[in-house]
Amino acid sequence: MMKTQSATITVDGRPVTIEGERNLLELVRKAGIDLPTFCYHSDLSVYGACRLCLVDVEGRGILGACSTPPEPGLVVRTNTQELREIRKISIELLLANHDRECTSCTRSGSCQLQDIARRLGITKIRYRSIHQLKPVDTSSPALTRDPNKCVLCGDCVRFCDEIQGIGAIDFAYRGHEAAVLPAFGRDLGEGECINCGQCATVCPTGALAPASEIDAVWKAIHDPDTVVVAQIAPAVRVAIGEQFGSDYGLNTTGQVVAAMKRMGFNIVYDTSFTADLTVIEEANEFIARKTKGERLPLFTSCCPGWVKFAEQSFPQLLGNLSSCRSPQQMMGSMVKHTLPAQLGRERKDIVMVSIMPCTAKKFEARRPEFRTSGSPDVDFVLTTQELARMIEESGLALNKLHPASFDMPMGFKTGAGVIFGNSGGVTEAVLRYAVGNITGQNPVDPEFEEIRGEQALRIIRTEVGGLELKLAIVHGLAKAREVMNRILEGSLTVDLVEVMACPGGCIGGAGQPVGRDIAERRRARTESLYNADRLLDLHCSQENHFVNECYQKYLGEPGSRESHRLLHTHYHHRRRAGAEDIALAKAKELGDGVLTVKVCAGTGCFLRNSQAIIQGLMKYVEANDLDEKVQVQASFCFEMCGEGPNVVVGESIISHATLDTVITAIHAELAQMSTGSVQAGAC
């Protein structure tokens, strides 16, 4: 009788088989021992800072389990007296300088520090509080940052750097002064943060959390003069139940609508309705571009984190972004446009509240281009977590409520609108429309399996009515950056790119319930949305009668002028960091007779050698004694990255600038300034 020898280690006396685990921690947890950790995250690089996962390895001493690779024959102990003491002391040390007002912390109940302290049986803290209270950063509409709750695990830093490729926050200072900060210690809202909030998702405490708009929404609900209209995103319905103890992925749509009605929301619509609308607008936009072969690939635009990222880092590709608004914004726009007349009320009386799985939506709602007649199309954005809290506050037990249905007409949707919450959902929905539009027949089997999946980048080739299509679906912005670079350098050609900032798409958004088993939750939510699609009678956006009615009544055709006015938008080039213009050569006295020359030092122009122009100008100004008259500044990013290097001389912009053209322009301007008329300039 043969027994296969497998590689094993011994954990607390018991053998555990090695089956491809990356480190001892995974093995120990497989053995059923849940070693506590802060800084370990399976999707991120190993950091090794929290020292909670220390184990005793015979012959090697005390090592971090998260960073030690498994080796057959190791004898590991997880619970010696020494280890227990070290763990307890580590937590005590953290608690000594932590803001321990748990009762008024948003993370109370789901905080890992709280949980570990309880599990380790900490009953007193014998070390003193030494640090000084730092102010809470509420500058970002999407997130609050409380440095007094930070345990410096670095998960947020690593997520922002490794998965999003942005690095808006990083460690600064050293030792006891070490802190996680945006560049130069500025506020989070000022810099390159794109508001995706994934940092808050991985944060074990309440140091980073979604910003709260609960109070404002209650105020609106209590205000007798307002009509509070809500819209619920697809991803919310398959996750909110987790806050009430449901199985992961349970679809509690009806109960949520019921709860909201009871709480005082006057009307509850479904964002999936405008998702269907988005599909129609965007698919038409796509088909038109594909037919003409211009401005390809088309990038989706419903993810506000991705949009801000593109504005900051790839402004040269903004022309390729779909001009469609997101479903949230289309809903806000349509509701405020159509409802006043229907209800006989004024626009200002309508308050639009969206329930989103996302923190970036809070930023999106505040974008200036989404204001009409002086008020925002979407007034408030509540995350799944916030809504759950409001439901709890109202004393309602979600699971016990009788379900209710959405209000019509904007509560009606097809399955295509519902799958928007998954990575690949938008693409699949667009494809369902395209098939119908191009071949004249709606797809028999609406499920496009090849588009679905968990991988961060999926490239699909397909064919619709003789039209070859190549599609890319990507989530996580570091991956997106790779794709952009490949597209820019020409090594990747695709027709459409769907970009979601959050892992797995919106179901993984930062407004969703969090937990250590987040990967499992995401999978359950994804499957649940596909099931919701399967349960609906209609699966293609073109089949949504109420959307078609919308066109008949208000919009006309897809892509019409009215559609553009209500449902489309434009984008800005953004500076990467909130830096002031650098004055390089200061005129000795800044008076009226000074000509300002600004050279763009943004990424695009920089890559086109604006630096050499700056240097050349510096030399020139000095060599020709023009210091008194000309002030040269380096500026971060003008509007026109495709035409760089860009230089502003006085009032006029010179594109594709060279040193010579700038110098000529300077002299022309100077001449004009001094005599008021054009003179032949000496050079």
């Binding site: 030690t68 070390y127 410096l152 670095g154 200072y173």
Partner: protein, 633 residues
């Protein structure tokens, strides 16, 4: 024309001249005005029309010339500026420009000795002619430091004449990689940076890795306060470091080497850069080294002021352009280091020893030292000893030998020798522990020191007299490590901070019966659980002093008294009624009006108000103020 052809087989310290005058140009002597002395020599010798060579260009000229050269640190820093005259081997101390005239007349033109500039041995009052005579030198075995102080560090030819780069050539042309690693292993050489890890084993581990790219890094980030051995080697014999790097690179199969040197050593940086440049121009570094077909490059990188970067993974992070934060080990750098490639990191001194081992063989290296810790070690002897400076002794030398025979004995605060003054010697800097009277006859090596709760560390030895408060010493080191903590791991970042707070409590008289047990428990946790060596060794001074000077701690905690009289907060000044004349001068001087008393009546100090500034002590003509000094004159 290959530079090796110029090497003679006999090293010639006189370099062809009849007499040679060597001035120490190490940082210490320069600070004391050595360059002015140098200038004076140049000027005077020119005035006398003494034929002399400045830059040693005419080596083969034997026409009675005197060569004036600069060297690196000669080790005897307290007595600088130092001037050595060869071949008589006279060592003049504390030379000033005004002395130059006399030296020239007496020792160069004449054949005599200027007695007043010689070193006077304390205790015997014997005037020592030179290094052959001075116990500070005679008791040492200066191998690593040997040429420092003799050769001109900026002169490649001199290095070559003294067997320079012979070992490197042997390593590239005559030995295989395995042979080199075996030789180093057999020598028993252990890392001189503090860890004491067997160097041969480290090199072998890296050699075995199969990778197209490997690196060798020289750790010259000597951050221990009180240690300056590496600095002296780099300033005095920079080529020895390069040669060591080349051998190491050859051993493991690396083509890129890097020296990470702290920016606080500007002279060392300058000398190293110059040496790299010269070696490159001469074809020693670069492509096809010694005709072997291998390429070796060497780069100098300056640190930016972070002690933690002396830890190898933190150093790697720094070289990669990141914050210098350590990374978990495993993986070890020999397996995955700089840019994920096999990397070995060795201390300056380790590399210098490696050169000698390859040149003369492991057997020779083992002639000195102990079986488990062979060879010599440099130490920086500072603090309350008569002779401070750089020394090099074989492992196995006792503490007594070092402190008394080489160091000349313990001094009191006023500098006089105190035969009973020995209190402790702190070894290993902020990562180390203290040695007490009971360890005076301990033969010092890596293992023996570990058993008594200390460690060799980088080799800083600070002698302390009876007037030193050991609790304050431990606190001083705690403050240092706490300030230098990178902040990554909880135990070091928060733990050292809390430990420091507890130490503050103790020296300020605010501790209670829970403080010491809590301190000890936390110290052990930080020691066991920290991510890197900084955290793991930060508690050592505290633990070591708790072990050996427990009663001093108890006095601070229970009695609120500092036995050594150093901790200001615990001083309780009082006025001796017998001595006090009631003149009232102290009352006027006291900035907080803590002294009261009637005229011509004995005065008294109010302990509550007193801030222990010592103004009253200074103002009293009758010596009536007590309790403000340790009483250790």
């Amino acid at each position: 024309m290959h530079m090796m052809e110029q090497t003679t087989s006999h090293p010639d310290p006189l370099m062809g001249a009849q007499r040679r005058v060597i001035l120490c140009a190490g940082t210490g002597c320069v600070a004391n005005g050595a360059m002015k002395v140098y200038a004076a020599f140049q000027e005077r010798m020119q005035a006398y029309n003494l034929p002399f060579t400045l830059e040693l260009r005419e080596e083969n000229d034997n026409s009675g010339k005197t060569a004036v050269t600069r060297s690196g640190c000669q080790g005897f820093c307290q007595m600088g500026p130092l001037v050595t005259i060869l071949p008589e081997n006279i060592l003049y101390n504390q030379v000033k420009p005004a002395d130059v005239e006399e030296i020239i007349a007496v020792s160069l033109i004449g054949n005599g000795v200027v007695e007043r500039l010689l070193y006077i041995e304390p205790g015997t009052e014997h005037a020592c002619k030179g290094t052959d005579d001075i116990p500070f030198y005679t008791r040492q075995q200066r191998f690593v430091l040997g040429d420092c102080g003799i050769i001109d560090p900026d002169n490649l030819d001199e290095y070559l004449r003294n067997d320079g780069y012979r070992a490197a050539k042997k390593a590239f042309v005559q030995m295989s990689q395995e042979e080199i690693c075996t030789e180093i292993s057999e020598s028993g050489l252990r890392g001189r940076g503090g860890g004491g890890f067997p160097t041969g084993r480290k090199w072998e581990a890296a050699r075995r890795q199969v990778d197209d790219k490997k690196y060798v890094i020289c750790n010259a980030d000597e951050g221990d306060p009180g240690a300056f051995m590496n600095r002296s080697v780099m300033e005095g014999n920079p080529h020895s470091v390069i040669e060591g790097l080349m051998i190491a690179a050859r051993a493991i199969g690396a083509d890129e080497t890097l020296v990470y040197v702290r920016a606080e050593y500007p002279l060392a940086v300058q000398r190293m850069r110059r040496a790299v440049k010269d070696a490159g121009e001469r074809g020693i570094l670069g492509k096809n080294v010694f005709g072997s077909g291998f390429n070796i490059s060497c780069e100098i990188m300056e640190g930016a002021g972070a002690f933690v970067c002396g830890e190898e993974t933190a150093m790697i992070a720094s070289i990669e352009g990141q914050r210098g934060m350590p990374r978990p080990k495993p993986p070890f750098p020999a397996e995955s280091g700089l840019w994920g490639k096999p990397t070995i990191i060795n201390n300056v001194e380790t590399l210098a020893h490696a050169v000698r081992i390859i040149r003369e063989g492991a057997f020779r290296f083992r002639e000195l030292g102990t079986p488990a810790s062979p060879g010599t070690k440099t130490f920086a002897l500072t603090g309350h000893v008569a002779n401070t400076g750089l020394i090099e002794v074989p492992f196995g030398t006792t503490l007594r030998e070092i402190v008394y025979n080489i160091g000349g004995g313990i001094t009191a605060d006023d500098g006089s020798i105190d035969p009973a003054g020995f209190k402790a010697v702190q070894i290993g800097g902020p990562s180390g522990g203290c040695l007490t009277k009971e360890h005076l006859d301990l033969p010092m090596d890596f293992d023996s020191l570990r058993t008594v709760g200390a460690m060799v560390g980088s080799g800083g030895l600070v002698a302390m007299n009876q007037g030193t408060c050991m609790v304050a010493v431990a606190r001083f080191f705690m403050e240092f490590t706490q300030r230098e903590s990178c902040g990554k791991c909880v135990l070091c970042r928060e733990g050292t901070r809390q430990m420091l707070a507890m130490m503050d409590d103790i020296i300020e008289g605010k501790a209670d019966e829970t403080t010491l047990p809590l301190l000890r428990e936390l110290a052990l946790a930080v020691q066991k659980g920290s991510l890197c060596g900084l955290g793991k060794t930060a508690p050592n001074p505290v633990l070591s002093t708790l072990r050996h000077f427990a009663d001093e701690y108890e006095a601070h905690v229970k009695d609120k008294v500092c036995p050594a009289g150093q901790c200001k907060a615990l001083l309780k000044p009082w006025i001796d009624a017998e001595k006090c004349k009631g003149c009232g001068k102290c009352v006027k001087k006291c900035p907080v009006e803590a002294i009261s008393g009637e005229l011509k009546q004995p005065h008294a100090i109010d302990q509550e108000k007193c801030i222990k500034c010592g103004a009253c002590l200074l103002s009293c003509k009758f010596g009536a103020v007590e309790g403000l000094q340790g009483g250790y004159a």
